[in-house]
Subunit: 150 residues, 4 copies
């Protein structure tokens, strides 16, 4: 397997998923640090890889079932700035789930330092009508497994 | 004056500031709607113009006083998706202030429809040390004026 | 009319279309200037407004005819940096056209200074198959009119 | 070593550097494919990692020598679209150099398919004055070595 695609489970707790994100020029702003909206991109990369690691194939969910995950809410606290060249870790810990929605807590860390914390809620919808749909079994299982662990 | 730079005070309440944002290709994702992190960019454009309309010159604050505003927290609720070509309005209503921090509530609307609501908190910091600094008088006045109005 | 939506024809030549773009925090990088890829976003906003001003409705072209414009090539020269708070003008001058393709030349200016020049080629395609399709009459007319002028 | 940071030298030629890039939601637009400006971000990630792999530390160059690399020109040809979830490879092959400038050729590939080709020219400047400066020895050596190989 090529670089850039290996998940790892380092970090705080045994069952926790996290994903590395390198900070590039594109991520910074004139303050010399990462632009605040870009942490939402980093967090989504980690969620995408968390789903992929659990065998959830979003491309197939859309193509074969017309299902899409959309973000319905988020809440972020910016504690310390990340800088160009930093190698960050972004964690994903599911904390709540319903029939068509789930919530994860995420942290962006640089080594042991927590830079940003977030809570993000997603809903499973029909890609055409944008109406809520029950989550596929693969995602429900992932959420149960992880929620059990923590 | 050229297009794209005129503030307007349409919208719900008399004293409210809002700023128009057109949705372009760059703002959308494969779901066919605006990518969720991009509303934070739209909200910042409105805050920047709100400060500008009140005579706060962020370029001078940085160059002459070494002051920078950074976002310390945000909370968004995504109610309905915005689409390519939509002309949105983004409002700014200050709701709290301290010595070095303030909070605004913001809405992204398409006509009468509210698409996204947000609460964003910013802090005034020293650009070199990233330590909190008291807000300049021009910003304190803006916050008092607006908070009084609402 | 609300701010942010008024086209204007200031700039070099009488028939030239240009569109104002304000530089926000989101557009800058740690060098303190506009991140180089973002000029492509600015240029696309100008092309979108140029099409809109000529009555070309891209949303309808996609919904009713399944047509999409995609960029097939671009070439940019970065002469001087744009900075936070700058109010730029982005011009659009069509210079070549075929059955399914056209090319425009674009400049990003700050007042009389040319900051970035570009040449961008677009193709009209079928949104489902991504195959080339003949351009709609409204676009062909726009290209003829403009190419005549210059 | 954590994921996401391993360089690899797969691809066409022995001495060629390339870097993997995964396509996320943030990279796509409503056409369902990668937004055209984002390939410039992908190409920069590869150039950054190419410099890092050769021991060039851009953070130190800026902090200790006040040197910055800026893009002075680019030229891209979009041959085929990349899609969500694609794992791409982005190559970097230096092709020309002067005292303060160099040019690289880059390809974005999905397996054996070339999706986008580009030529990007960068200049070494003084971060404060934006004037050209001679490139540091570490970069000159990298360019000589690579140019020799190809």
């Amino acid at each position: 397997m090529k670089g850039g695609t290996k998940a790892h489970t380092g970090g705080r707790s045994a069952g926790e998923f996290s994903w590395p994100v390198r900070v590039y020029y594109e991520d910074t702003d004139l303050g010399g640090v990462v632009y605040y909206a870009n942490y939402l991109r980093f967090m989504e990369r980690a969620r995408t890889e968390w789903l992929r690691a659990a065998g959830v194939d979003q491309t197939r969910l859309l193509a074969e079932h017309g299902l899409l995950f959309v973000i319905v809410g988020c809440e972020l606290a910016y504690l310390r700035p990340a800088r160009f060249d930093d190698l960050l870790d972004v964690s994903v810990v599911p904390t709540a789930k319903g029939r068509s929605r789930f919530t994860v807590e995420q942290e962006v860390r640089r080594g042991a330092e927590v830079l940003v914390t977030g809570r993000v809620s997603a809903a499973c919808i029909d890609a055409a009508s944008f109406r809520p749909r029950g989550m596929p079994a693969s995602v429900r299982e992932l959420l149960e497994r992880r929620v059990d662990v923590d």
